[in-house]
């Protein structure tokens, strides 16, 4: 599946995983530091993912 990352905006391909929490673990991201968004909807960690999904991992930490 396609994963959109921010700061700066870029895309990575992640294969062979089927839940939000496994994607976060693979990318070494703490679940509470991002929102996971698919088609404008928030996904919980337990959500099932399909190989052709596009998901955005949007960081929620901000500085200023």
């Amino acid at each position: 599946m396609k994963v959109v990352l921010r700061h700066p905006t870029r895309e990575v391909e992640v294969d062979g995983l089927s839940t939000v929490s496994s994607v976060l673990k693979r990318l070494d991201i703490l679940p509470d530091t991002v929102l996971v968004i698919r088609n404008g909807e928030l996904l919980m960690s337990s959500e099932h993912l399909e190989p052709d999904d596009v998901i955005e991992l949007r960081p929620v930490i901000s500085g200023g």
């Binding site: 509470d32 991002v34 928030l42 929620v60 901000s62």
Partner: protein, 302 residues
């Protein structure tokens, strides 16, 4: 997991409350948290005229939306800091547009203060000239200009969008250095002072930043997602990362750290406040003869 309220499909889990919510009941939960913070800390009095500092980010826009839903009339002020960006993404311009769109869609009043036209310099210029970390000149400028805007507009209080993570990170930074003077000044309500400091309140203190971001996504509020390109050197971010590691292992740690301090410890630090005098150049309160912002302004003119 199911929504705690309606048992429908949950969209977000909040580990420190050990609860999950559907979009509708999450929104309700967030509004109640703000309402509770306002009440617990006696932040707003009936009839207060409120000015909210808006940045175009998730926190201030979520807060503007929530306060409006709670029935408060709140005007906004946006500071144009002149921060550019990477890859044609002009950070300040884009951020301003989010604020303008938000305000015009809801018929809310938004004032824009342009640092460059009003004071003759931008944040990048000030950082270069003074060789200081951008966030440090930016922070002092924002504090000064927001206070001035609230005084000029005869508002009763300045409302800020600091959330639980912001406040816990600030406290952590100050505790690690035992900056007792700053620790003593940290409170979600800072009273007005007779010499011209406006009352400052922080109603988002019970919401984590993930929750204000989720509030925006679930309520169709577009905000600036990209990080400020000048954030390098900001110590708050490091503190937030450490606190997030801690929170991951012990959900609720951030809340307990901050609220334990506010409810049980803050009194012990409250006395160490410096005497304020009036800045000889602008009349705003300061601890020296000339305030930090006026010194910066003089430096930028030379």
């Amino acid at each position: 997991m199911k929504c705690r309220v309606c048992k429908g499909k949950a969209a977000i889990k909040i580990r420190r409350h050990n609860a999950a919510f559907c979009p509708e009941h999450f929104t309700e939960h967030a509004i109640r948290q703000v309402e509770k913070a306002i009440k617990d800390f006696d932040m707003i009095k009936p009839g207060d005229r409120l000015l909210l500092g808006v940045s175009g980010g998730k926190d201030s826009l979520a807060l503007w939306d929530i306060l409006t839903k709670l029935g408060y009339g709140v005007d906004g002020v946006y500071l144009e800091l002149g921060i550019g960006g990477v890859d044609d993404h002009a950070y300040s311009d884009v951020s301003r547009r989010y604020c303008e769109t938000f305000a015009s869609n809801r018929g809310l009043k938004l004032e824009i203060v342009d640092l460059s036209t009003r004071y003759g310099f931008t944040i990048p210029e000030a950082a270069t000239q003074t060789k200081r970390v951008p966030c440090s000149v930016c922070g002092l400028s924002k504090r000064y200009i927001l206070n001035q805007a609230a005084l000029d507009g005869k508002y009763d209080a300045l409302v800020m969008g600091h959330n639980l993570d912001d406040e816990a990170a600030t406290l952590m930074g100050n505790v690690l250095q035992w900056n007792t003077e700053y620790i003593g000044r940290q409170h979600p309500v800072l009273s007005a002072s007779k010499d011209g400091l406006i009352r400052k309140v922080k109603p988002l203190i019970r919401l984590a930043e993930r929750e204000t971001a989720a509030y925006c996504v679930l309520n169709g509020i577009d905000y600036e997602v990209e990080e400020c390109p000048m954030v390098e050197g900001n110590t708050g971010i490091k503190m937030k990362e450490w606190l997030n590691e801690l929170e991951d292992r012990a959900p609720g740690a951030k809340h307990r750290f901050l609220f334990g301090y506010l409810e049980r410890v803050s009194d012990r630090f409250a006395t160490e406040q410096p005497e304020l005098t009036i800045c000889q150049s602008c009349g705003q309160p300061t601890t020296g003869a000339t305030c930090a912002f006026c010194r910066l302004e003089i430096r930028m003119k030379s």
